[in-house]
């Protein structure tokens, strides 16, 4: 069997290759290469810090490896990966609250302050202000806004990722946009 290059494998072919057994490692490497960037940036927008993002990305793919064998192909692979990534990110932030004993301090405020000193933030002051505005949103609303505004994910796919209705997602996004606009217009 001639193995194709990464770009030519569809999600279905990757899964079949993985379940074949002989090419399990190779198939998983292809999957990681295909989705690592998307998954990374999705997580990075949630947890902000690069090192934290790196940890969550690895945890995400470890979990994906564990459950890929039983993956039901009624959902798209990328929505499935996004779902794992989102849950891992939320769990990470919960653990961060517990670990650093900040139950009464908004963890997002903590992330906003760390953004000021982040060596891996290359945006200008306006970009920084936008990120701080996004961090003021409630956790899930923030995730909805990022997926819609930056990634352009369809509401139908987002509904599968977040297990929420399309209507609720639209409403959440609208509210998020208005809040951010208000924050950006205030000096």
């Amino acid at each position: 069997m001639i193995l194709q290059t990464m770009e030519h494998y569809s999600d279905k072919e990757l899964i079949e290759l993985f379940r074949n057994g002989d090419n399990r490692n190779y198939a998983f490497n292809l999957l990681v290469n295909k989705y690592q960037s998307q998954v990374y940036w999705h997580i990075r927008r949630i947890v902000i810090d690069h090192d934290d993002t790196n940890d969550v990305v690895q945890n995400t793919f470890i979990k994906a490896l564990r459950y890929l064998e039983s993956f039901r192909e009624d959902a798209q692979l990328y929505t499935w990966l996004y779902r794992i990534a989102t849950n891992e990110s939320i769990n990470f932030l919960k653990q961060k609250r517990t670990k650093f004993l900040i139950p009464f301090v908004n963890v997002e405020k903590h992330l906003s302050e760390s953004l000021m000193e982040d060596p891996y933030f290359k945006g200008d002051s306006i970009q920084r202000k936008l990120q701080q505005a996004i961090l003021k949103l409630p956790e899930k609303q923030r995730i909805v806004f990022n997926m819609k505004y930056f990634d352009g994910i369809k509401y139908e796919d987002m509904a599968k990722i977040l297990d929420t209705s399309v209507g609720a997602l639209k409403a959440s996004y609208h509210i998020a946009v208005k809040k951010i606009e208000k924050y950006l217009t205030v000096d």
Binding site: W41, L65, F150, Y155, V177, I180, E181
Partner: protein
Amino acid sequence: METNDNIENENLKDSAPKLFSMSKENPFDVPANYFENLSSEISEKCFHVYHKKHKATYIKILIPASITTMMVFIILFFFTENKTKTNTVKQYAYDENSTLEYLENLINNNELDESVLLSELGNNDSIKSGVQNRQTNINTVSFATNLGATMDSLNNNAISKDDIIQYLMENDESDDLLK
């Protein structure tokens, strides 16, 4: 054809002009060659964790199975040991009874001096008490009584065990007693 999402975006542009005028360029950065190395790092960690979990599962099964097997062997060992001891005791008891009977016959037939018997009994309290407790023969009962009296007199005399044994060896044609 305009999609619903595009229509929606157009509507939001009117309500959030500042937001939609901003560049959507990614403001975040990563260390050099991060994505080039990421896939190999992930694969290495993934399969290490995968094999570690399977190894852990294997050990979780192996340790209880080993402990259970050891316990079974220990129980079987002690069971077998007790059975052997019981057989030994029974055999010893059999030997004791037959020994007592033999010695009684010797004494009744005047083939064995009681004092010699007493000396040979030595510290063997079980045979001594067995002799004392035997009730099947009147001679045996009196024999036991005489034994006790003889034991006392023997202890008070200066006759040594070696002397008695020597006597026995010279006068006993059969070696049964010394066996």
